[in-house]
């Protein structure tokens, strides 16, 4: 067994530390060491987006990031989106629009939507679709997801 | 007389006829009559005493709960249908 590295990072605004082997991905560590299971492994090769996180404020696939790279960086996952009992507008709109069926891709889409709206608070449909193109959903056909993001954007602009 | 509609394989045993007149009182008896008239015609339908898995019986427009025991009316049309599946 390889020697483990000691990593200090910030996850959802909180300082966190963990031990990991160099070969472990951020996805593995989030799930298995830090008990943040919102990130899912759908493909392991960065094609489906269900492991999406914000890594230093950029949308990224955690299956493509080695855990050791998190040293000194910030990571945001779906578990950090709600404030206590108050859901993030994206979370609320996904529920209102029934923008999820099986829900396995939902954490990834919420993070991707958050990353988009933090950069571009007033995206048109084409911009939304482009921003979400790295997240695969097989259940919904994307219609209600796009509408949910549109309404969340509107809600966030008006607040 | 109720009418038993023959599946394509069954018709080969019956010289191409598409349907047979049968009396009940039940579907089982109707099938037994068909077997008596054309030996071998129902061989593929049964597994022991029961309908083979994958088949069921519809009478007129309804799939019946108790295929072989279902009672027949004089106007009943008996159909042997594949069990619907899905994904």
């Amino acid at each position: 067994m390889a020697t483990k590295n000691h990593i200090s990072t910030t996850i959802n605004g909180e300082s966190k530390e963990f031990l990991c082997e160099p070969r472990q991905t951020l996805l593995e560590v989030l799930r298995d060491e830090l008990d943040l299971k919102g990130v899912k492994e759908g493909c392991g090769t960065g094609d489906c987006g269900s492991c999406s996180v914000m890594f230093d404020k950029r949308l990224a696939c955690s299956c493509l990031i080695l855990a050791v790279e998190a040293e000194g960086r910030t990571v945001e996952t779906v578990e950090g989106m709600a404030s206590g009992e108050t859901l993030h507008p994206l979370q609320r709109q996904f529920l209102e629009h029934a923008a999820l069926q099986c829900g396995i891709c939902t954490p990834g889409f919420l993070i991707a939507g958050k990353a988009l709206l933090e950069k571009n608070p007033d995206p048109d449909e084409a911009e939304i679709r482009l921003a979400l193109a790295g997240n695969l959903c097989r259940c919904t056909g994307y219609d209600k997801i796009v509408r949910a993001v549109q309404d969340a954007a509107r809600e966030m602009r008006n607040s | 007389m109720a009418t038993l509609f023959l599946t394509a394989p069954m018709r080969r045993h019956a010289g191409g006829t598409e349907r047979l007149e049968v009396v009940g009182p039940t579907v089982r008896e109707a099938l037994e009559q068909a077997e008596k008239r054309y030996p071998g015609i129902t061989a593929d339908l049964f597994e022991g005493n029961d309908l083979r898995a994958g088949f069921t019986i519809a009478i007129n427009d309804t799939i019946v709960d108790h295929p072989l025991a279902s009672l027949l009316e004089p106007t009943s049309e008996i159909y042997i249908v594949p069990a619907m599946g899905g994904g």
């Binding site: 070969r23 799930r31 919102g38 899912k40 492994e41 759908g42 493909c43 392991g44 090769t45 489906c48 269900s50 779906v78 709600a82 859901l87 979370q91 529920l95 629009h97 029934a98 999820l100 069926q101 099986c102 829900g103 396995i104 891709c105 954490p107 919420l110 449909e125 679709r129 193109a133 790295g134 997240n135 695969l136 097989r138 259940c139 919904t140 056909g141 994307y142 219609d143 209600k144 509408r147 | 599946t7 394989p9 593929d44 898995a53 994958g54 069921t56 427009d61 309804t62 799939i63 709960d65 049309e77 159909y79 042997i80 249908v81 594949p82 069990a83 619907m84 599946g85 899905g86 994904g87």
Partner: protein, 754 residues
């Protein structure tokens, strides 16, 4: 059974789903999220060859590794009967299933499992796989139906003879089925126009985002607990019990939340292996598949070759149809060719037809169900030719379908008379929809535009469901069913209970229970949950209402006669009312807990759901790329319990159909290795590939169901490939009878004069 004309308070509304908050906060536990202390990690060794005899497997070096606690091969599974029996969702041959789980004698596809290892870490398990030595005698692979039926083709199974053909010799044709009626020659003789084509469709995968998983724990007394993402915990229990030859009572299956199934998670791959290795090691065993394994070694649906000839008279009425459907079964018999044969003309009334279907084994993964299994392939053929007949006869494409539409009293191609169905209503809705008459853009350089329509349908698997509805002391209720929730069905079921008891949807707490906690319930699939489990819930609610009337009588100290339960109250003849909450509060003093229960076999409540897809495409004649500009899906839901979830099924199925039509296919090398076993190269639609899809719900209530419900889960995947092909034909003048309509194919077709 009459459908009531009542006004609904809850049914037809769109409450937020009960499990919604868990799903948007990452709290919901899917199969891979479960863990147990001390658990081992299992991984599977898979064949690199498409077709080979296994000469030997030596697992000794893997067994010897520290940290490896179990290694199994096909020899570690017991013998099971080699016959087709009622098992799983329909019928299964347990011996074939077992051989698929761990190969015995031969490997039959790239990815076929041969051995499994359980070790203290996943990385260690994978290292142990490398230490298993297998000697193969590689055999020539048979990769498609044309090769499989050719004279002298290598045989996958030396003793396989064709069922349905007496005295057949061994071949790769496992079964032949036939539906026929009338006189084909007479029929074609009456035709003004006849069209005939050969269609080819590719093998495609359900594409669920969540890979398969299983966590098995065997206790010292032999009791087994299994967590897995499944479409049916009782289904999985039956399959595991059969394959491992254990009594059903020894196995408890707990359904985790499931990340998509579409039919692909109604069978077993990892579960029996995890159980077996847990039995051997004495520790829990956790297994997950990689995406590569999912694509190579689970259950895609059949590629096919369909030869179809259709004739119509001058009025557009189909006078004869002759179809031969050749479907890939994969490595073991069991393609959905029978259902394809049922669906191919399902929306239409025909008098003269012959439909022959052949189930053909090839060196590809054993096929499993995929949303309306067999139907999309078949409709691709029939809906294309209908379109061609319309074109040749100068009849509007929707009009020609109306002139042939099935309706009440028509004798269906597969036998029985049709009850009332909504296909005509659906065609009317499509024809009068603004999309149908909207202007298309004019050609613009290399870009051309076209519109296409196709219809299709699917029945309902009926089958068995159970429900338990308990009334709580405060007048709220708890509903327990056994139907894993893939698309919001636990909420639809709660809504039915709420409607019947006069409650709000939020007052009914639904849970999806394990095999110890609820009665037998068949799979979530076959478009059956809202219809069949909903029927069980409806009947359990009637049981509750009966008991509430009894209790009210006791509280009023009057006879029960004349007391009704309506709108949430028991009402006596003199007008006095007692609310559900009031009765529930006193339940302990009037006889004990009020619990309603029902079990149903929903076969007789069946009612087909028809669908249609209207699509505008843009074809780039320089690159062959087909873009979807606009899509509208129509479907008969009978009665939409939760319209947003019905829309969701319609839109989801449509987009899967778009993927099937435009880009998805299994690409094998000549040696039979799968070359595109990743989500990069197995191309499912992204958000950029589709527009918003309007969903138009038709409600022609199902006369056989007390609430008029028709199952909607599947039919929407049937029309899109044909609709897209019809649109491409309208845009380019070229009929492409091959799926997918990928850019290289479209481009090549536009180049030739063909």
């Amino acid at each position: 059974m009459k459908t009531s004309e009542r006004e609904f308070k809850v049914i037809g509304t769109r409450p937020v789903r009960h499990d919604g908050i868990d799903k948007v906060t990452g709290r919901a536990l899917y199969g891979a999220d479960h863990s147990l202390p001390g658990m081992l990690h299992g991984r599977v060794l898979r064949s690199p060859h498409a077709h080979a005899r296994i000469l030997s497997i030596d697992t000794s070096r893997a067994q010897a590794m520290p940290g490896v606690h179990a290694v199994i091969t096909g020899d570690d599974l017991p013998s099971v009967p080699d016959r087709t029996e009622a098992l799983g969702e329909g019928t299964t041959n347990a011996n074939d299933l077992s051989n698929n789980l761990l190969a015995k004698g031969k490997v039959l596809y790239d990815g076929h499992a041969l051995a499994a290892v359980a070790a203290t870490s996943a990385h260690l398990a994978e290292e142990a796989l490398d230490k298993i030595e297998v000697q193969y005698e590689v055999l020539p692979p048979v990769m498609d139906v044309r090769a499989a039926v050719a004279e002298g083709a290598p045989l996958l199974h030396e003793t396989l003879r064709t069922a349905g053909v007496p005295e057949s010799k061994p071949s790769n044709i496992a079964k032949v089925i036939e539906f026929a009626r009338g006189d084909l020659d007479e029929g074609f003789a009456a035709a003004s126009v006849i069209v005939e084509r050969e269609f080819t469709t590719a093998m495609v995968h359900q594409g669920y985002i969540e890979p398969h998983n299983a966590l098995a724990k065997v206790d010292a007394d032999g009791q087994i607990t299994l967590w897995c993402s499944t479409q049916g915990s009782f289904d999985i229990r039956s399959l595991c019990a059969k394959v491992l030859q254990i009594p059903l009572s020894r196995l408890k299956v707990i359904p985790a939340e499931i990340g998509g199934g579409f039919g692909g998670k109604t069978t077993v791959y990892l579960e029996p292996l995890a159980i077996r290795m847990s039995q051997i090691s004495g520790r829990p065993v956790h297994m997950v598949m990689s995406r590569n394994e999912v694509l190579r070694a689970t259950g895609p649906t059949s590629g096919s070759v369909i030869r179809l000839k259709m004739g119509a008279n001058a009025h557009g009425k189909i006078v004869a149809a002759d179809a031969l459907l050749d479907y890939e079964a994969g490595a073991f018999p069991g393609s959905p060719v029978l259902m394809g044969a049922v669906v191919i003309f399902a929306p239409y009334a025909l008098e003269n037809f012959r439909i022959v279907g052949r189930d053909i084994v090839v060196n590809r993964p054993r096929t499993a169900a995929y949303r309306a299994p067999g139907g999309t392939n078949a409709a691709f053929a029939s809906e294309t030719l209908l379109d061609e007949l319309a074109e040749k006869l100068a009849i509007d494409p929707i009009e020609i379908r109306r002139r042939n539409a099935t309706c009440e009293g028509v004798q269906a191609p597969w036998g029985p008379r049709m009850q009332k169905v909504g296909y005509e209503e659906l065609l009317d809705a499509a024809q009068s929809h603004p999309h149908y008459s909207a202007e298309l853009p004019p050609p613009n350089g290399p870009l051309v535009y076209g519109r296409g329509f196709a219809g299709g349908g699917w029945g309902n698997a009926g089958l068995q469901s159970s429900a338990i509805l308990s009334v709580n002391n405060d007048g709220t209720a708890t509903l327990v069913t056994g139907s894993p929730d893939i698309g919001g069905s636990r909420t639809s079921c709660a809504m039915i209970a709420a409607e019947e008891l006069g409650l709000e949807a939020a007052d009914v707490r639904p849970s999806v229970a394990d095999t110890d906690t609820i009665g037998y319930t068949d799979v979530t699939g076959g478009s059956r949950v809202t219809m069949a489990t909903g029927l069980a819930v409806f009947e359990a609610a009637q049981d509750v209402k009966r008991q509430l009337r009894e209790r009210a009588a006791r509280m009023w100290e009057c006879p029960e006669e004349g007391i009704v339960f309506e709108d949430g109250d028991a009402i006596r003849p003199n007008g006095e009312r007692l609310s559900l909450a009031a009765i529930a509060g006193k339940a302990g003093r009037t006889g004990g807990p009020v619990i309603g229960r029902a079990t149903v076999n929903a076969n007789r409540a069946n009612g087909p759901s028809f669908a249609g897809f209207l699509v505008d495409v843009e074809v780039d004649t320089e690159t062959g790329k087909v873009g979807i500009l606009r899509g509208t899906v129509f479907q008969d839901a009978g009665r939409a319990i939760h319209p947003a979830y019905v829309e969701g099924q319609m839109q989801g199925g449509s987009v899967q159909g778009i993927g099937w039509g435009l880009g998805e296919e299994y690409i094998y090398s000549n040696e039979g290795k799968l070359e595109n076993a990743s989500l990069l190269d197995y191309r499912i639609p992204t958000a950029l590939d589709v527009p918003l899809i309007e969903a138009v719900i038709i409600e022609c209530p199902n006369p056989a169901h007390p609430l008029g419900i028709r199952g909607v889960g599947e039919a929407s995947i049937v029309p899109p490939p044909a609709a897209i092909a019809n649109a491409v034909a309208a845009a380019t003048g070229k009929r492409l009878p091959v799926l997918p309509l990928s850019p290289p194919r479209v481009h090549a077709a536009l180049q030739t004069g063909d």
